[in-house]
């Protein structure tokens, strides 16, 4: 899943660094993702993974890194499967 997330961050995150080189735990905001760009990332993730992030998940900490995004998606998809 992390590579799919990476692709979305690359396409929508408007980072100032090379996303391909980014460690999954790296702070995306520190890598230059603005709050406007983070909204684009969230929309693209919802679209790609066919999920809806509830309000409690729409926080900075959830979208802070590719791995935190992966955990959130895992939680949402786990719920959908259950």
């Amino acid at each position: 899943m992390i590579e799919e997330i990476r692709k979305i961050v690359e396409d929508h995150g408007r980072l100032s660094v090379d996303v391909a080189q980014l460690a999954p735990s790296m702070d995306l905001y520190q890598a230059g993702m603005t709050s406007h760009a983070s909204v684009s990332v969230m929309l693209a993730l919802e679209d790609h993974f066919d999920v809806e992030f509830p309000d409690r998940m729409l926080t900075r900490s959830v979208f802070e890194s590719m791995s935190s995004i992966e955990i959130a998606l895992g939680e949402l998809r786990g719920q959908a499967a259950a």
Binding site: S16, Y29, A31, T34, S35, V39, T59
Partner: protein
């Protein structure tokens, strides 16, 4: 419980007294001369009101935010500039109190703020950021011996020349992204201000907010480690909008009170039938009620969300939209109420020297939509509304 209720009531009573006895009689000269409301601030210091939000164990008043908001309202009814200076200082204090996260320097600093009633000015806006407080150009720059320096081009620093200390947003390091910000405190002599502009504005004239180049050399310990983005969402943005809106509500309420006094005086002159302005006053009352309701409900929601573990709800986008909306709605509604009061009082309200004058109220509240431009906030909300669910 009763001890803290008494403490809050006592604090509010002394602020009310200062508002009536000092802020009100000096409001016109503060406005006319665009001078700092020194009598009011000195009296607030004397009552230890500048440390109201600091916990008792650090020597502060341990007063609830709700009570400080009420104090902003009371001061706003008597002098908008005094109220705004008081509100801005409290925003800085609230931010430090909620985010010091055990940093020893900051605990000691807050004790000093309480003991010495130090007034804190904020240096958040900056040239070159397009008015976006979430971005900085100036950076914390490492120097020898654990010191760091910075230089910031600030287009406005409210009461900068009258403050003891400066609360400054900066990039974390010279190579950090514009949005990777921290807060630093420059104490007294550590900071210097070079005046770069003038101060002759339409309203809020006593806030004395010209531009400055701000330079300082501080210790690293004076940089708050928590990222500003988190501080901003959890505390600074909501508390700013809550306290500002209480100031604007106070000003609008006094404008309404003056309009009501005008109508009552007219009614007494011609008993039997309500004067024509009475109907306008009734319309105005409903406009004021809308403002009151928005300001009160935002405060309630913030207090409730702050009491939850981890304050998680405050970090959501739905919460950002909510408090942004408080800012937009209240900053547009307050001058609307003042203009309505002017329509009720007519020429008696337009003249600057009658008991029904509301010119200062209108001018002061016209600043509201500019303090963090509403259009910028609309841009943010427009984007957040795409993704937030229940707003």
């Amino acid at each position: 419980m009763s001890v803290s209720v008494d403490r809050d009531q006592e604090f509010l009573q002394s602020v009310r007294r200062i508002a009536d006895e000092l802020a009100a009689p000096n409001a016109d000269s503060v406005d006319r001369e665009a001078r700092f409301p020194r009598e009011t601030i000195a009296a607030l210091r004397e009552e230890r009101a500048l440390s109201a939000l600091i916990p008792v164990e650090l020597g502060g008043g341990g007063v609830e935010l709700r009570t400080v908001a009420a104090a902003c309202f009371e001061l706003g009814r008597r002098c908008g500039s005094s109220a705004m200076v008081f509100a801005m200082h409290q925003i800085q204090v609230a931010t430090l109190v909620r985010h010091l996260d055990g940093q020893a320097w900051f605990e000691e600093y807050l004790s000093d703020v309480a003991a010495e009633q130090r007034l804190i000015a904020s240096v958040t806006s900056e040239l070159g950021t397009g008015g976006d407080l979430g971005r900085s150009v100036a950076a914390v720059t490492p120097e020898a011996e654990g010191d760091c320096t910075f230089e910031k081009q600030a287009p406005t620093v409210s009461y900068g020349e009258h403050a003891d200390d400066l609360f400054v947003t900066l990039r974390r390091a010279p190579d950090a992204e514009p949005s990777d910000q921290v807060i630093a405190i420059a104490r007294g002599e550590q900071g210097s201000l070079e005046l770069t502009g003038t101060w002759d504005p339409l309203g809020m004239r006593g806030t004395c907010s010209p531009g400055f180049v701000v330079r300082a050399r501080v210790q690293y310990a004076q940089v708050l480690q928590t990222p500003f983005a988190r501080i901003s969402a959890e505390t600074m943005v909501p508390v700013t909008h809550i306290l500002w809106s209480h100031v604007w509500l106070g000003i609008a309420t006094d404008a309404f009170d003056r309009a009501r006094a005008f109508v009552r005086a007219a009614a007494k002159r011609s008993p039997g039938e309500p004067p024509p302005a009475a109907l306008r006053l009734s319309h105005l009352m409903s406009e004021l009620s809308l403002l009151r309701a928005e300001v009160a409900s935002a405060l309630d929601e913030f207090v409730e969300a702050s009491a939850q573990p981890g304050r998680e709800r405050l970090t959501t986008m739905a919460s950002a939209v909510r408090f942004n909306n408080l800012k937009i709605a209240s900053s547009e509604q307050a001058p609307r109420v003042c203009q309505g009061a002017l329509a009720v009082c007519g020429i008696m309200g337009y003249k600057n020297d009658t008991p029904f004058s509301v010119g200062r109220h209108l001018r002061d509240t016209l600043s509201a939509s500019l303090m963090i431009a509403n259009e910028r906030i609309h841009h943010t909300n427009a984007s957040l509304l795409l993704i937030a669910k229940e707003v």
